[in-house]
């Protein structure tokens, strides 16, 4: 897709989201606060009960920090949860216009998806600022330009990967009446196995080995651990390579699903 078009789609989407001001302030702040409060009290209690100083290699503060970053970075990886609009386009026939325009649907949707990240990025900066007043961030250690860059790469790859997974799942709308349940399932699996619900270090060793070849850890665990400086260069490169292979594979599946799907499309509504 050309840059001019991408920019236009991007800006439209970002502006649209920013115009939902109530959602931006009330909903996201509330959700963020709720998740943080739960994580905070849960882990404080766990540490107190067990009497241990580290769990899975995390100290209590380290654990809280992990959650903080996972939630904030997670929003940048998963975007504004607006991917449902793809299946709606199929059900309601709005896909039709993109079939008429000389441009690819997937590309437009991905740029739109990027547009939804603008508020998430804003929140990332804002909330981590607020949180730095409440928590002790000294353990973050040396955040260098290089580590930030690596984190950015990890986030970008995670973002593409998750979009591709959603693009496949949403494409099921060509055949099935309701992809909602599939989407919920995917969200559960990705949060569970991707490190959003808990750091993957807490899984037993055999499970970790499997998780390392699955695509999910790239989504949340990988960028957060990169930022925390807990992944060495060799491992980072290896994880990135696995993620890229998955991107290619899921991208291929998406291509096939959509090419078949278009044959099923009947452009309802007219």
């Amino acid at each position: 897709m050309r840059a001019g078009l991408a920019l236009q789609v991007f800006s439209v989407e970002a502006r649209k989201l920013m115009s939902y001001r109530t959602d931006f302030w009330i909903n996201t702040v509330a959700v963020f606060a709720a998740k943080m409060v739960v994580a905070y009290y849960l882990w404080t209690a766990v540490f107190a009960e067990s009497g241990r100083t580290t769990i899975g290699g995390f100290t209590q503060d380290g654990m809280i920090l992990y959650y903080l970053l996972a939630i904030l970075i997670g929003r940048v990886v998963s975007g504004g949860e607006r991917q449902m609009s793809i299946s709606q386009d199929i059900y309601q026939g709005s896909l039709t216009r993109y079939l008429i325009y000389p441009t690819g649907y997937g590309a437009i949707k991905y740029v739109e998806h990027l547009g939804t990240l603008v508020p998430s990025l804003l929140q990332l900066v804002l909330f981590s600022g607020v949180a730095s007043l409440l928590f002790d961030f000294s353990q973050l250690g040396a955040v260098t330009f290089a580590s930030l860059l690596r984190t950015a790469v990890a986030v970008a790859v995670g973002n593409v990967l998750l979009f591709l997974m959603l693009y496949v799942i949403q494409g099921v709308a060509f055949w099935a009446d309701n992809v909602w349940s599939l989407q919920v399932m995917l969200r559960f699996i990705t949060s569970m196995l991707g490190g959003l619900m808990l750091p993957l270090d807490l899984f037993p060793a055999w499970a970790r080995q499997i998780l390392e070849i699955l695509p999910f850890q790239t989504l949340y665990y990988f960028p957060v651990m990169t930022l925390l400086g807990r992944i060495d260069t060799g491992e980072w490169l290896r994880t990135l390579a696995v993620a890229l292979v998955w991107c290619a594979m899921i991208g291929g599946v998406a291509h096939i699903v959509w090419r078949r799907g278009y044959r099923e499309y009947t452009g309802v509504g007219i």
Binding site: R2, G4, L5, L7, Q8, V9, V12, K16, G93, T96, R97, L99, I100, Y101, P102, T103, Y262, R263, Y265, T266, G267, G269, I270
Partner: protein, 343 residues
């Protein structure tokens, strides 16, 4: 520029029995039923031509348009638009076509029209100057320049349709598919859109395929029409020929000074003409309308003057809309039996 050869489309619809039990059953076993929406339709549309595609509800007009615009894949047959197979959706073809659907908003619902147009400028890579001039011209002619910054969803139906029209024509398409572009519009707006389309044709010589249920649209815009009935093309020719070929009748209308017994009159006019049922709302009227074979007009008029207390008498061509409606109807009667097993 538009070619269809033997185009057919069969949809498969899942039959679901109504009610809860039906839903449960459909979980286990779903029956697919074929619905032949379009059957072997062939026609051509050349540059500068506006061809009307008419037919009853569900006749298959929209399905034909969808196949030609590359939205759905034909079950059989061949389509070519500007030399391309529409289903392959080549960008070079898509940059030169437009689809306007009166029943479905294409523009982005929560953006102002101006933003939609900017997106389209990028999508079609319209040079800035040409875009600005084109937009100014279109918005002014359609009288919507005041509404450009209003969200699409807040526009009235007519205003929205005009925006859709602008959006579809900004890139000066050479092939336009117009599916009921005037549906739901008031008479002024309908006229504005018609005039606008005529002017667009004059300036750009596009090939246009137009569907509409308003005869006025067809009569004003189309020199040639296609009549489609239950997915089959039953007429393809000049609009003028429809009247010549199918209007073997004329309409005779008389005004009477007092009422007469219609049944008795019908017997007396046996073979001369047929009394049409009174128009709605004119039940106990003193007016009488008859349809008569062209050759019998004089005889019928004479007989009427002789038999009835006539105060006024007029002879007219049958309305083109009625003729078309009848063509659709007649064919339906003809084919009723042979297709009985299918429905």
């Amino acid at each position: 520029m538009i070619q269809a050869e033997g185009l057919s489309k069969t949809f498969f619809v899942h039959r679901k029995e109504p009610g809860l039990w039906g839903s449960v059953k459909s979980l286990v076993k779903r029956t697919k039923e074929p619905r032949h929406a379009v059957r072997g339709v062939s026609f051509h549309v050349g540059p500068g031509e506006i061809v009307g595609l008419v037919g009853a509800n569900g006749a298959g007009k929209t399905t034909v348009v969808k196949m030609l615009a590359g939205i759905i894949v034909p079950t059989a047959g061949r389509a070519r638009v500007l030399g391309y197979d529409p289903w392959l959706r080549d960008n070079r073809m898509r940059a030169q076509i437009a689809l306007i659907m009166g029943q479905k908003a294409q523009l982005w619902w929560d953006l102002p029209a101006a933003d939609c147009f900017l997106l389209l400028r990028e999508i079609y890579q319209i040079p800035r100057q040409r875009f600005d001039e084109g937009l100014a011209y279109l918005a002014e002619t359609l009288d919507v320049d005041q509404q450009l910054n209003v969200q699409i969803r807040r526009l009235s139906l007519g205003e929205r349709m005009k925006m859709e029209l602008i959006a579809a024509l900004l890139h000066s398409p050479r092939v336009c598919f117009l599916d009921e572009p005037t549906i739901g519009l008031d008479l002024t707006a309908q006229r504005a859109i018609r005039e606008f389309l005529l002017r667009y044709r004059q300036d750009h010589q596009p090939a246009m395929l137009l569907t509409s249920h308003y005869m006025e649209d067809i009569e004003r815009l189309c020199k040639r029409i296609l009549i489609i009935r239950r997915g089959e093309l039953v007429f393809d020719g000049p609009l003028a020929e429809v009247a010549e070929r199918y209007a073997q009748h004329k309409m005779v209308a008389v005004e009477l000074s007092h009422e007469v017994d219609r049944q008795q009159l019908a017997r007396e006019l046996e073979g001369l003409g047929e009394i049409l049922p009174p128009e709605e709302g004119h039940e106990a009227d003193l007016g009488l309308r008859l349809r008569t074979p062209r050759a019998q007009v004089a005889a019928l008029a004479g007989r009427l003057l002789q038999l009835l207390p006539v105060t006024d008498l007029s002879i007219e061509e049958e309305e083109i809309g009625n003729i078309i409606a009848r063509i659709m109807q007649e064919r339906e009667d003809e084919n009723e039996n042979e297709e009985g097993d299918e429905e």
